[in-house]
């Protein structure tokens, strides 16, 4: 039975990969491309890369939890618990966010960025190579935060809204996610004594991740599936 469950889990994962990859891949390429070709040193205050990360988190959550009517019915009729189904998808989404972080880390750490920048006559390289890794922190915070909030809001919309796929609901969810993720991190990032804002941001994102995951799981359990 366990083997069968594992098989089904992998199959669902394959479905998710096929579903999400067309949306995720452009963002991954965009992020890596930006990291490779940005002329001045990368830093945590770079709003462009943070925006890309924010959008990536939302797009992944949207693609992952947006099943077509037939697909949804098929997946939910498999002999897997809702919790397991949710954890497979949630874990996959989180893994994609981490994949971006790893890709950016590798791009910087193996010297790919430095090499390309030196070919482009950037005077900052390779001195700043290791300091540029500071960009990873906020990419992670933004992408995970937006992923978690969007996931929760989207699943919640399925429960509370009569027409969860109406364009205005969708736009609203996107907008709210962006506002929450961006403004919260902006507000939290205002410097205060002894640099505690860095810890505050991490604590906040951890809190949202836990709460958002629990809340999303709750929503997932109460979803009504269209057949």
């Amino acid at each position: 039975m366990d083997q069968r469950r594992r098989y089904i889990s992998i199959e669902i994962l394959k479905i998710d990969v096929r579903k999400v990859l067309p949306y995720y891949a452009p963002f991954l390429l965009l992020t890596v491309g930006y990291v490779l070709f940005r002329k001045t040193p990368l830093g945590s205050e770079d709003w462009k890369v943070n925006l890309i990360a924010c959008l990536q988190g939302m797009v992944v959550a949207w693609a992952l939890f947006n099943d077509a009517a037939g697909t949804g019915a098929f997946i939910f009729s498999r002999p897997l618990s809702r919790k397991r189904l949710f954890l497979i998808r949630w874990g996959f989404g989180i893994s994609l966010q981490l994949l971006t972080i790893v890709a950016v880390f590798v791009t910087i750490a193996i010297g790919l960025r430095s090499g390309i920048q030196m070919l482009m006559n950037s005077p900052y390289q390779p001195m700043v190579k290791w300091y540029e890794l500071s960009v990873l922190g906020l990419i992670a915070l933004y992408s995970i935060l937006s992923y978690q909030i969007f996931m929760f809001l989207k699943l919640r919309l399925h429960i509370v809204s009569a027409r969860p796929r109406a364009w205005r609901d969708l736009v609203g969810t996107w907008l709210v996610t962006w506002l929450v993720a961006h403004l919260c991190l902006r507000v939290l990032n205002v410097p205060i004594a002894n640099g505690i804002q860095d810890y505050l941001m991490v604590v906040y994102v951890a809190l949202v991740t836990i709460l958002g995951t629990l809340a999303s799981l709750y929503c997932y359990r109460h979803l009504e599936i269209e057949t």
């Binding site: 001045t40 830093g43 945590s44 001195m127 919640r156 429960i159 506002l179 949202v208 809340a215």
Partner: protein, 752 residues
């Protein structure tokens, strides 16, 4: 499909609110930020408007989420979110500064700011130390006006008054002779020229007499400087005062301290070191100035600062860190970057002893985005910046380059490294600036102008000889492109270089650049050139003087302020021309309108400049002059007497020459010189002359010896703390108010 289960909906909304938790952080954060700025928001919450707007923004944010989460009211949610965003921006950007100013208080407050720890007295009531903040009510509770102006002492010493005059242009010198200054801050706070407030005598009627004291030295204040600024939008209304104090006892105080130092052959006693270290906030600048001329004094000062900061040999890293922390704490209180200062000297010491510490502490203190204290302009950061600028730590290079990517101002530090990468970075910056987008420049000339100001500022502070030619070209180009600030850019750039210790090659190059490239009038060039110790300066200066002989009169004093050995030959030629009453460089007789040339004052100034040139050629010339005539001897003695208090060590060699004088008149003229030179050698000669058969010489020498002994005694008392520096002021005549003016006490009675 709509789910009507209320319980589920409430639960979901509860979860949504939990996620919105950090929004509550915003007002809390404002409070924290404000509290860090000093005055405490909790006491100034009356600015309801700001808080209401901010609260409204928060409510709107929450509402927008509720609308989305509740039932998909998207349009309303979007409108609410946008309004909230606008309100947040407004409340943060516009209202926060108002918030910081606090509420409209009914009471006015007086804030006296100066160097810290200056004791403030009004009508002899001690109000506290600077920075002093006192409300009008508290002030009137503590201080009652005096009906009669107080009995005052006037400092008469001409030397002191002269010193005050030279430092206080445009001030009424009469005001600066008194220990008490009359002023009514709460009555006269608006402006000195307000109707009904016109003079010292008007202020006398106020009945409030202020006195400022620091380390036993009374600071004289001028009424015109009692109020520095007031801001009509200050809430509560604050009267800011920054009285520019002059300390008349500083000069005698210094003289006695240096007298003690000389007596101990420049090996300062523990008592001396402790005393000078403790008084460094008052004395440092003066002692440092002398130390620049006399390395022995500088060494003693360094020892005093080491004593003050408890620096010993073989200190561990932790001990150095403790020393730096102590200095940072002091700087936080003082909040001023005003070199030279004890902290700057400490930085120099740390740079030589423990450079690694500066490297690690620089970013720790600056803190960047990790601290609300972070930023430029804070004194403690500026001191660390100074240390990094002066001696760039190798370990810091990569981090500085990284920070340069975010902030151009790091370029001045990066540019000081001699590494090729640093040179490339600076070159790229200069190139990008020069070839910046012309369309953007056209659209926003003010932005370009501000950027140019910043760029010139950065370039001016760089100290990299390898980049110097490019920096000069850059500054010249910017000066050409911005005619309004052209002179300012160039002057700043040149002055920054003149203030540094230049090598011979650098001096030659700078002199050549100023003389041949800088588009300044010749007179301005001359003022800079005379400060450069370079062989080339002689030729340039001579050429200019040949074209404009009258310039000699205008720049003569520069030779005293900035003694320049490379101009010794020029000074000799100029002196010869002056004394022969001919124009410099030729035998053209002087016509009556040019009588300023060749006058005794000019000759005296030139002679003093010559005395300060410590070169064999000049010494030989002056020796020849000395032996040539009696008149020359008297002129030289007068010049030495004037310059001896300035502590040029090479002047002491004149002691041997002067000691050979035989005739009475010259000896009488020489005795005050020995009194000023004030060394054990001069004391020995005075001792010999005190045994002279000539009564006048004997009497004057004995008097000088008595002065010497008196100085020694008072210096000891001063170091022991049994007398205050103010007690050293001579000629303090008591004055009393006769209803119209202060008059000497002997002429009237009825003093307070």
């Amino acid at each position: 499909m709509k789910n009507d289960n209320r319980a589920i909906r409430w639960r979901l909304n509860g979860m949504a609110f939990a996620i919105l938790l950090p929004l509550l952080w915003s007002p809390l954060q404002l409070i924290l930020l404000h509290n860090q700025m000093g005055s405490g928001l909790l006491f100034n919450l009356q600015n309801w408007l700001c808080l209401l707007v901010f609260a409204l923004a928060i409510i709107l944010y929450v509402t927008s989420y509720i609308l989305v989460l509740w039932n998909g009211r998207m349009l309303l949610a979007i409108i609410a979110a946008i309004i909230a965003l606008i309100l947040t921006v407004f409340s943060l950007e516009i209202f926060v500064p108002n918030l910081q100013k606090g509420s409209e208080a009914k009471l006015r407050q007086l804030v006296i700011q100066h160097e810290p720890k200056i004791e403030v007295y009004c009508n002899d009531v001690y109000l506290g130390e600077t920075p002093l903040e006192i409300s009008e009510t508290e002030f009137h509770d503590k201080v009652k006006p005096w009906d009669t102006p107080p009995r005052q002492k006037m400092v008469i010493g001409e030397e002191i008054i002269q010193d005050i005059k030279t430092h206080c242009y445009g001030l009424s010198n009469t005001e600066l002779r008194w220990f008490y200054t009359p002023y009514h801050y709460f009555d006269r706070h608006r402006a000195f020229d307000e109707p009904g407030f016109s003079s010292y005598y008007d202020a006398v009627a106020s009945g409030y007499w202020w006195r400022f004291e620091s380390l036993g030295c009374t600071g004289f204040a001028a009424i015109g400087n009692m109020v520095s600024q007031t801001y009509s939008d200050d809430r509560p209304f604050r009267i800011w005062s920054h009285p520019h104090l002059q300390y008349p006892s500083i000069q005698p105080y210094l003289r006695h301290l240096l007298h003690d130092l000389k007596r101990s052959d420049y090996q300062p006693s523990g008592e001396w070191r402790t005393h000078v270290g403790k008084s460094s906030r008052l004395l440092f600048r003066h002692v440092y100035e002398i130390g620049q001329r006399d390395p022995r004094v500088m060494r003693a000062l360094e020892m005093a600062i080491k004593t003050e900061f408890d620096i010993r040999k073989g200190m561990s890293t932790q001990e150095w860190e403790a020393v730096l922390d102590k200095a940072m704490l002091q700087l936080k209180k003082r909040n001023a970057f005003n070199p030279p200062s004890p902290e700057i000297m400490l930085m120099d010491l740390i740079v030589t002893q423990n450079m690694k510490l500066i490297g690690t502490r620089f970013f720790e203190y600056v803190g960047w985005r990790n601290s609300a204290d972070a930023g430029w302009g804070f004194a403690k950061f500026m001191h660390l910046e100074y240390a990094v600028l002066k001696n760039p730590p190798p370990t810091l290079f990569k981090r500085l380059v990284y920070e340069l990517g975010r902030d151009d101002r790091f370029l001045r530090m990066v540019g000081n490294y001699s590494r090729p990468e640093a040179l490339q970075l600076v070159r790229q910056y200069l190139n990008e600036f020069v070839h910046s987008n012309p369309v953007v420049n056209f659209i926003s000339p003010s932005m370009k102008s501000a950027d140019r100001w910043k760029a010139v500022d950065i370039v001016t502070e760089m100290r990299n000889p390898a980049l110097e030619p490019e920096l000069r070209r850059f500054v010249l180009k910017q000066a050409q492109d911005d005619p309004d600030r052209s002179e300012h850019y160039l002057r700043r750039f040149i002055n920054a270089r003149l203030e540094r210790t230049l090598t011979a090659v650098e001096s030659d190059s700078l002199a050549e650049w100023i003389a041949e490239t800088v588009p300044f009038p010749e007179f301005d060039k001359l003022q800079f050139l005379t400060r450069i110790n370079s062989e080339r300066v002689y030729r340039y200066a001579r050429d200019i003087f040949l074209r404009h002989p009258s310039y000699l009169h205008n720049v003569a004093y520069t030779f005293i302020t900035y003694p320049n050995p490379s101009l010794d030959l020029f000074l000799i030629e100029a002196y010869q021309a002056e004394s022969a009453n001919v124009k410099f460089g030729g035998l053209v007789p002087i016509t009556p309108p040019q009588k300023y040339i060749g006058n005794p004052r000019n000759l005296n100034i030139l002679l003093r400049g010559m005395l300060l040139c410590d070169t064999p050629r000049m010494y030989a010339f002056l020796e020849g002059m000395w032996s040539a005539s009696y008149g020359n001897k008297i002129s030289l003695l007068e010049a030495i007497k004037q310059e001896a208090p300035n502590h040029y060590p090479h002047l002491h060699r004149w002691t041997a020459i002067i000691s050979q004088i035989e005739d009475v008149d010259t000896r009488l003229a020489a005795i005050p010189v020995f009194d000023q030179i004030d060394t054990p050698e001069s004391l020995a000669i005075l001792g010999d002359w005190a045994l002279s058969s000539d009564a006048a010489v004997k009497r004057e020498a004995e008097r000088a010896l008595e002065n010497y002994r008196e100085r020694s005694r008072r210096a000891k008392e001063l170091l022991a703390g049994s007398i205050k520096p103010d007690d050293l002021l001579v000629g303090q005549t008591a004055y009393v108010w006769n209803g119209k003016d202060y008059v000497p006490e002997t002429t009237t009675s009825g003093s307070k």
